[in-house]
Symmetry: C2
């Protein structure tokens, strides 16, 4: 009985968000920018309430013995909040993703087709922890004209409630309907949310790989934007500047080891291995990285042996698997078998080898002579990112506001019917018109 009630209640709330989102979709660029500014102001005015609510969550989490890194992610103090507010204003300043004409075509005399970008509708966003992400995602949603149903981690409940209340209050001072945002609080609601394919257009899970996979497996009617594994490779080709390759590999492994765009496996051409590996081993060891190598790599100084499980493994830690390969083709085959189509790098001075690598590896990012850590929405210049997608269909790779919109075909005629075209009395012109 309680499940039925909670589902009915959820349905009612999701319908309210959808209505809010339909109105929001009619708002102009300026109205949405103004709404984000109102959200930022409300956060400034009521920041204290949020920090107090977060203190309640932190105390409860500490009592329950939450691990230190999770406690750190849960924490939202004045400084962190100020950063969030600045981030919100940066999202406000991003170019409008809505209303772009992607296609403009005369189908026949007087019959004009255009394809314009429009909001998706309603996003279902599910976080594992990090209450500050609520602010970022709410900003991205409103900027792109979408409603959002948010669900934070249980341990961040008070903080998330305080944030959403403040954001809604901010929206009351704008043209955007405060109903465009809502917060779910129970795990049951999350699972029920995944079934509302009439009301929710995209699920965005934010958390660990296991969490994302968990959501993906349970959402078979609503598309899920997210990445599961990030098993990135760096291949050092035979013709290479060794110092550069070491610097790039070191950055790609150590600059932030817990990120999905960190390399997990280093592949080295056998002709360069004895020049490259000794100084590389020295550099990695000095940086605290544990290396696990195949036989040839161990013969050149890698201290630990890699097992078959090391290939394709995502450590998200200061561990790196090292393999000496026969040639470029063997490296491509290794990446094909063990990669996760996230981001893979070649270091080489040989343009032909680089071109072969960039054309062949079918990952979202294929890099030449630079660190895999550049695979990121901010670094690509997208301003803010929803996340990095390892799916093959677009949106792929780092996803910015552009991933939160779709398009609509508008066709304007003067009483045009299909019948005369079907029987050949009339013919299509299919003449492209200027897009802008």
């Amino acid at each position: 009985m309680s499940t039925i009630n909670s589902s009915a209640e959820l349905l009612h709330r999701a319908q309210r968000v959808r209505r809010g989102a339909l109105a929001l979709a009619q708002c102009s660029d300026v109205q949405r920018i103004t709404a984000l500014e109102a959200m930022a102001k409300a956060l400034e005015n009521h920041g204290d309430a949020i920090v107090v609510a977060n203190k309640v969550d932190q105390d409860a989490a500490a009592r329950e013995g939450l691990a230190a890194p999770l406690l750190a992610r849960l924490k939202l103090d004045g400084a962190k909040l100020a950063g969030c507010i600045q981030g919100l204003r940066e999202v406000a300043a991003l170019p409008d993703p809505i209303g772009h004409r992607q296609m403009h075509r005369e189908l026949a005399a007087g019959l004009r087709l255009e394809r314009v970008t429009v909001p998706l509708g309603v996003l279902g966003v599910i976080f594992e922890s990090r209450p500050d992400a609520v602010i970022q995602i709410a900003a991205l949603a409103i900027r792109s004209g979408n409603g959002a149903i948010l669900k934070g981690g249980r341990e961040a409940l008070n903080t998330c409630q305080a944030i959403v209340t403040v954001l809604q209050e901010g929206l009351t001072n704008s043209a955007v309907d405060p109903d465009s945002l809502d917060l779910l609080t129970s795990r049951e609601e999350t699972m029920a949310l995944l079934q509302l394919d009439d009301l929710v257009d995209l699920i965005v899970p934010r958390g660990s790989n296991d969490f994302v996979r968990h959501i993906q497996e349970r959402s078979n009617r609503i598309p899920v934007l997210g990445h599961a594994d990030g098993v990135c490779h760096l291949y050092v080709d035979q013709r290479v500047n060794i110092d550069m390759a070491i610097a790039v590999a070191l950055d790609a492994k150590t600059q932030y080891p817990a990120a999905c765009n960190t390399i997990e496996t280093l592949l080295v051409h056998r002709h360069v291995a004895r020049h490259f590996l000794p100084p590389a081993i020295q550099a990695f060891t000095a940086a605290g990285v544990t290396l696990r190598g195949d036989e040839q790599a161990m013969a050149l100084g890698v201290p630990e042996a890699a097992t078959p499980e090391d290939w394709g493994h995502e450590y998200l830690d200061l561990i790196l698997a090292v393999r000496v390969v026969e040639d470029l083709e063997a490296a491509l085959e290794h990446i094909r078998r063990h990669g996760s189509r996230h981001t893979d790098v070649i270091c080489t001075d040989d343009e032909a080898a680089a071109t072969r690598f960039l054309n062949t590896v079918d990952s979202a990012g294929v890099f030449h002579n630079c660190s895999s850590r550049f695979a990121d929405g901010f670094r690509y210049g997208f301003g803010a990112e929803v996340g990095i997608s390892t799916q093959t269909m677009p949106p792929r790779g780092p996803v910015g506001l552009e991933g939160l919109v779709t398009y609509r075909y508008r066709l304007r005629g003067h009483g045009h019917t299909v019948a005369p075209f079907a029987c050949g009395d009339q013919r299509f012109s299919h003449r492209d018109l200027p897009e802008t």
Copy 2:
């Protein structure tokens, strides 16, 4: 035991198609066009074998008592085959969807990002019947650089096998690996195919709504391109050219009633109802259309009563639900509640009403003064279509070759690492460069 064997066998075959597809992705535009021509030639040379195989399928289907419309769809004679071959050559002539640079940006001095279109990889295409669709989809797949694992209806097995054998033979005379195409023959293989998310990038089901829904519900790891319902509406506004509105409504209902882009509900503004409905009823009745109306529509001559189940119902037949609405807003609300976000039409001379409708109805197609039957890849000028998608995320609406490609980010540097950007020693320029 047999399931395990068949899964292992399927895995092996899917891996072979993937390898074929990786090689195919390296082929040039000319090589893919030449491959399609080789496929067309092989069909011309071995058309007799296909027609004979189809006769076997037809005889078996007739013995099993297959319904007449299904028998008609199963039939593939010389004339139909010639049409398929012509269609294949038309797909060959379409512009290459691969290698378009969608983004080109300097991230920092010497660090250049580009986004280029690339094939998806491997398509899993599942047909209910219609063996000729195998030719069309194989052509679209190879043209867009994708491998395809095809599965036809059981009753078309001999025909499909003959077709795929001939197409593969054609490919042996081209640069494209014949392994890029394969045919599955059992239902168990289809279900196992839906689990191969490492090897298959997109599932394309072609068949009835129930069939598409069946596949969608069973594929939670691979995206499915398809449409379920097509509940299209036509709204006749108060300021309207009545003759034009009747002609458009008639075409939208009767030009091909079994299509998904046919209207199922007619909404009429109450101020125009008594002028519009009497002649419209006459025209529809003359065309053999059964009308089911609400009370006000019945008062103006609609003979049958509509029940609540008629709103949002997809007849795919010469039946049309008719409702008199208070105003434009009531029509929008009806479409929001009962529509399927496929294609909806407004007939009006009032530009403001048309704009409100086109901006508000969140369907893939929103049409003004023209028939919903124009919602079609050929009519939009896409040359050929994979199908019409009613999902919200792109590709949406009629999907052509463009829906079978994705993109890849290529980043080229000179030893660039993230660390100096993270600590502020270096700054991003994010300067857009010419796309072409």
